[in-house]
């Protein structure tokens, strides 16, 4: 994902004036405008509206939901999804907020460190998740080899215990996405006027007080939007679970996104799969509405 943090830039503000002055489109211009937006509208109708409609239709059979709620895997999956969102998203964003402050330090070292720190974001997800999978292998993985080298004891079987396997997935998610959100918050902090900090320093504020009374209030809105967006993205995340735990051991670490795909394609029941995914709607719809409202206000764009 790429990054932008723009809010109320002066350029955008002055732009509305000439816009309002201008007359509306008419005549041949209107035809051109129509021609220009046709490709986008066509893509939207064919590949967003149609799949949504078809998906809702697939997921409208009550029998699928009866089957789903009788599936012993399903309750685990819901709990896993909630834990994944709760810990994965919040730990990640809180750490990112703190680390973005750390990277504001001056000097060559923090610049070099930031370049290295960005690696998990730059490396594609699959190699990293596969590596984490093998790294956490109970028998031959790097982590347990290190534990053996240092302490001469056997490390835990990370991916063979339901709780540790879920924790491993959450670890993988945080590892992969921490740099991205740190950069977002870093850009947010860069935009805070230094004069505010100087004024706080003149008033004798400690670093903690500066953080609590300058940084935090100014970044709260952005932090909230990031939490919602990250929750939505994590809800749809398939790769971390698929490649770190594979949903195992014994289907105990599935989340809704992976269970949906499993039900639809491995069990060959698209209706059941769609029903699985659609049970996330009570969480997804309020988030989407809140987030769209926030993004439309154009206060924060990511």
């Amino acid at each position: 994902m790429a990054v932008t943090t723009t809010v109320d830039s002066p350029a955008a503000a002055t732009d509305t004036a000439p816009l309002a002055r201008r007359r509306g489109t008419f005549g041949p211009d209107k035809l051109w405008a129509l021609a220009f937006v046709t490709p986008y509208v066509a893509v939207f109708v064919a590949f967003v509206i149609y799949p949504i409609g078809y998906g809702l239709w697939l997921g409208s059979d009550p029998a699928s939901y009866r089957a789903l709620f009788n599936d012993p895997v399903y309750p685990h999956t819901v709990v896993n999804t909630l834990l994944y969102l709760l810990f994965g998203v919040n730990l990640k964003l809180f750490l990112a907020l703190l680390l973005s402050g750390f990277f504001m330090r001056k000097g060559w070292w923090s610049k070099v460190l930031l370049l290295v720190f960005m690696l998990p974001w730059a490396v594609p997800a699959l190699p990293s998740y596969l590596s984490i999978n093998w790294m956490l292998n109970g028998q031959w993985g790097l982590i347990n080899n290190i534990i053996w080298l240092v302490a001469q004891v056997d490390g835990p079987p990370w991916l063979d215990s339901p709780n540790l396997a879920l924790a491993s997935v959450i670890y993988g998610h945080i590892w992969k996405w921490l740099p991205f959100w740190t950069l977002i918050f870093f850009a947010g902090r860069m935009a805070i006027s230094l004069e505010l900090y100087e004024a706080a320093a003149v008033d004798g504020a400690s670093p903690l007080q500066k953080f609590l009374h300058v940084t935090l209030p100014l970044m709260a809105g952005m932090y909230l939007v990031c939490t919602m967006l990250s929750t939505i993205w994590a809800l749809g995340d398939f790769n971390a679970v698929r490649f770190i735990s594979g949903g195992g051991p014994a289907l105990s670490t599935h989340v809704l996104a992976t269970l949906g795909i499993r039900n639809a394609f491995e069990l060959g029941d698209p209706k059941l799969g769609m029903a699985t995914v659609l049970t996330a709607l009570p969480l997804l719809i309020p988030l989407v509405i809140l987030l769209m409202r926030q993004l439309r206000r154009n206060e924060v764009t990511i």
Binding site: T4, A122, S131, L142, L229, N239
Partner: protein, 283 residues
Amino acid sequence: MTVHRRNRMIGDIGAALLSVVLLVWTLLPIYNIIRVSMQDKEEVLSTSVFPVAPSTHAFSVVFRQAFWLLETFWNQMGNSFYIGIVVAFLTLAIGSLTSFTISRMRIRSGWMLTNTALLTYVIPASFLAIPFYGIMGKYGLTNNPLAVIAVEVTFATPYAIFIFQQYSASIPFELDEAARIDGASPPQIFFRIYLPLMAPALVAIGTYALLLSWNEYLYAFLLLSGGKVITVPVALGKFLVGDEAPWNYLMAAAIVYAIPPLIIYYGFRRKMSGGLTMGGVKG
């Protein structure tokens, strides 16, 4: 003064410690990829932490495609490139035309288009995978790279539209008006004024779309079932299906696959962030 100096020293030591923790945290899985890619078959199943006898054997197997799961590796790299390039081009074309119409031609239904883009942006892509699979069958696009291209363009375009709209706000409207007075038609304004001035944003979004599709697994896995059309991530995923995955080959192939995005990220970093990090938080 001494208190001040002592505080600074404590701060420096803390920063040094945190740096070490961050380096270990960041590099551990990456070290593991490199370590395993340099092991031979027996050493993969051993308790070594550092490579015992590092070799480039696994890489030579990948380069020569000398393992059955890697038989068409270069062809898969080609497929990934092809899909990425087409997605980048289409995203730029569709995104720039749409944002030009919304923000420069000021069409009345512009807000609706912006909302549809917002909606697409906040829907988790994987939730549409199941209906998408069925629909691609109806469109007759099963096992066709076009299906994956369509998905990637669909999910990359909304972000492109946002960024283009924001970026174009910095291009003075007077330029368009002057051109219009000189009798320029909308396509002329689009090609001669809008696109050249949008170059930094175009580079940034082109890279974004390319990387998005280079990294895509789920849709490529579902829509490209086999043979000559699969991309590298799909092939990497297939390694796990067997009982005894040859981890050294898998990690070597993964490194080759990860190199192009790494070059792009670190090579174009300034260009990307130049186009993409503008403005900041509201006061």
